[in-house]
């Protein structure tokens, strides 16, 4: 269909976004974090995994430790590694784990949820029982069990978190589909002879996207937190790689004389999760004002 510009338009998405300053600022912050993370070598020349022991536990400063090197703006840790560098590279790990789990979980959960909602009957019943059982189970402990059995590490951590990530997306997608399924729109689709595939992907899915986006953003925040928790306890990412949670875990014993090792990673987690929550909240309020907070 020719895209003649629609003259009577409600004001566009970007304009509405700009009206809510908090959400907009949060998004900018997130984009900045993202950029710095991807282009890490641009922002720091120090290696995140090996350091000079003679430089260990240095406080944050603006003075360069030696000729030609840049200052340790955020100090050094117990092995002489630059904290800022570890923070930036650690972001890669934390964000990567969060994203992978959220995306895979979303893909699986949404597909299963849409199927359950659209076909109903036995399919729906079985799937929902599974979701209920999973949702009532202690998710953290099950993740930990996986870790214990498979051993710690980034890959196993992702697997462990994946086990539970799909359930929320599944519930969300299913309830949205149920709302639409009985609608005249679907009936009309049947009447003109459209197949199930067309109805589901061309009509149902675009209409349920926005609550799913909210869920995705919130879950992302949740998984970043989960990774931090598990890495802090030593079950996630292993040294010498850094992740925000691991930095706090390792730096714990030095807290009295080297508080910077613990302070900055925590702030980063807080900011990232906070911004994600704010953006998620905005998406929900804009597109579904009747939704109640989880």
């Amino acid at each position: 269909m020719a895209n003649k510009p629609d003259r009577k338009k409600r004001y566009s998405l970007m304009v509405r976004f700009r009206h809510n300053k908090v959400a907009f600022v949060s998004l900018i912050i997130l984009i900045l974090i993202f950029i710095v993370t991807i282009f890490a070598p641009v922002f720091t020349s120090y290696s995140p995994t090996s350091g000079t022991l003679s430089q260990r536990l240095q406080a944050p400063s603006f003075t360069a430790p030696s000729e030609g090197a840049s200052p340790h703006y955020l100090g050094t840790d117990q092995q002489g590694r630059d904290v800022l560098s570890r923070l930036i590279y650690g972001a890669r790990v934390s964000l990567k784990v969060g994203f992978v789990v959220a995306i895979v979980g979303a893909l699986i959960g949404i597909t299963v949820g849409m199927l359950a909602g659209y076909f109903g009957g036995w399919t729906d019943m079985i799937i929902m029982r599974l979701v209920d059982i999973q949702a009532s189970s202690p998710t953290l402990l099950i993740a930990l069990t996986f870790v214990m059995v498979l051993g710690p590490g980034e890959r196993n951590l992702i697997i462990a978190l994946l086990i539970n990530s799909w359930t929320l997306f599944c519930r969300m997608a299913r309830s949205q589909v149920l709302i639409i399924r009985g609608s005249a729109m679907v009936e009309s689709g049947h009447a003109i002879g459209a197949g199930n595939k067309r109805i589901v992907f061309r009509h149902i899915m675009p209409n349920i996207i926005s609550p799913l986006i909210t869920t995705f953003v919130m879950e992302l925040a949740h998984f970043i937190n989960a990774e931090a928790n598990l890495s802090f306890l030593g079950f996630g990412v292993q040294p010498p790689t850094s992740s925000w949670g691991l930095m706090i875990g390792e730096g714990r014993q030095y807290i009295t004389n080297a508080w910077w090792i613990v302070l900055f990673p925590g702030i980063m987690i807080g900011i990232t999760v906070l911004c994600l929550n704010l953006v998620g909240n905005w998406v929900r309020e804009e597109f579904d004002p009747l939704a109640v907070k989880r």
Binding site: M1, A184, E187, A191, N207
Partner: protein, 339 residues
């Protein structure tokens, strides 16, 4: 109306034929429990619609008329009985025939807007049937859509708009355009004007009438308002609680009401002059009973002033009492005052 489908004959073969059609909705019951009661939405209905007829299907809410419309288009699964389209059982279609059936039989919604994907433009909405059946694409599609918009009396520019910007009457016309896109021969119109302002109704009704001629259409016109049905319909079928109680040519039924319920429906029409209103004329008592597990006997008996003992025990069958005019009633009612 035949009681058995005569598949050999062509000239008088009905376009649509319903035989012993039943639709029950179970209530209660769950995963392990079987449902104990059923809503008898459609109970043993026999109906024929011939080509270029307009069958007006009337009755109160819950009488099953909407369900029959959906059943005839295979949008709801039947419980029992057969539905024939051009002599073929629609439940015995192979996928190709099924697709062709969809091209031939269409639906007009009471609220067309709710049937639109509101995220699509009008052009996409009207053009979708053509895409689904691979009939047209690209600029040819646009031309076809423009033509359809003109046919229903709308400006072709409208195809770039979104549905929420249209007025109610325009939305309904878009719905009609969508339903004739595939050049069907049979259209079920489910209360197509009930949600419209009185002033707009005439416009839509006129459109439907002209389309019938220009597009060679057969209509099933479902409505609770017997007056609009009169103008458009060639035949009338009156339903009560899932059962067909009277059938015949429109004017014949209007001038000779043989079933007390039909009389009551017609008397529900407000009479302008208060002096002409006669309360005694009303033969309706009480409220509509529930269609769940109905008791034996005539469905209308509990509300019928003429009900006798036999009416409560036995279910009356449709019989031809005047030429071409059938009724299901044990009493010999004949309302022949001018309406």
């Amino acid at each position: 109306m035949n009681n058995t489908p005569e598949k050999g004959t062509t000239a008088m073969e009905p376009l649509v034929s319903l035989r012993n059609l039943k639709k029950y909705f179970p209530i209660g019951g769950g995963l392990l429990k079987k449902a104990k009661s059923n809503v008898h939405a459609v109970d043993d209905v026999n109906l024929d619609i011939r080509e270029r007829e307009t069958l007006g299907l009337v009755g109160e809410s819950g009488c099953g008329k909407t369900t029959i419309g959906r059943l005839a288009l295979k949008l709801l699964p039947k419980t029992e009985g057969e539905i024939y389209f051009r002599g073929q059982d629609i439940y015995k279609y192979n996928p190709d025939q099924e697709k062709k059936f969809r091209q031939q039989a269409q639906l007009i919604f009471q609220d067309s807007f709710s049937s639109f994907d509101s995220r699509n433009r009008i052009g996409d909405i009207i053009g979708e049937p053509l895409i689904v059946h691979n009939i047209a694409q690209g600029s040819e599609l646009e031309d076809r859509v423009a033509e359809l918009l003109k046919t229903v009396g709308l400006k072709t520019d409208l195809m770039y708009e979104y549905p929420h910007t249209l007025a109610a009457g325009q939305k309904q016309c878009v719905g009609i355009a969508r339903s004739i896109a595939l050049r069907p021969s049979f259209i079920v119109a489910d209360e197509p004007i009930s949600a419209l302002d009185v002033s707009v109704r005439a416009m839509v009704l006129n459109l439907m009438k002209s389309l019938q001629t220009s597009q060679d259409l057969t209509y099933m016109f479902i409505s609770h308002d017997i007056r609009v049905v009169r103008w458009l319909s060639s035949h009338l079928a009156v339903m009560y609680l899932g059962k067909l109680v009277e059938y015949g040519e429109t004017e014949e039924v209007f001038n000779n009401r043989l079933h007390p319920y039909t009389e009551a429906l017609l008397n529900a029409v407000p009479i302008e002059d208060p002096r002409d209103r006669d309360i005694e004329k009303s033969i309706l008592l009480g409220e509509v009973p529930s269609p769940v597990d109905p008791p034996p006997g005539c469905r209308f008996a509990p509300r019928c002033k003429l009900a006798k003992e036999r009416c409560r025990q036995e279910n009356p069958v449709l019989e031809e009492r005047r030429p071409g005019h059938l009724v299901a009633c044990f009493e010999n009612y004949h309302g022949d005052s001018e309406i």
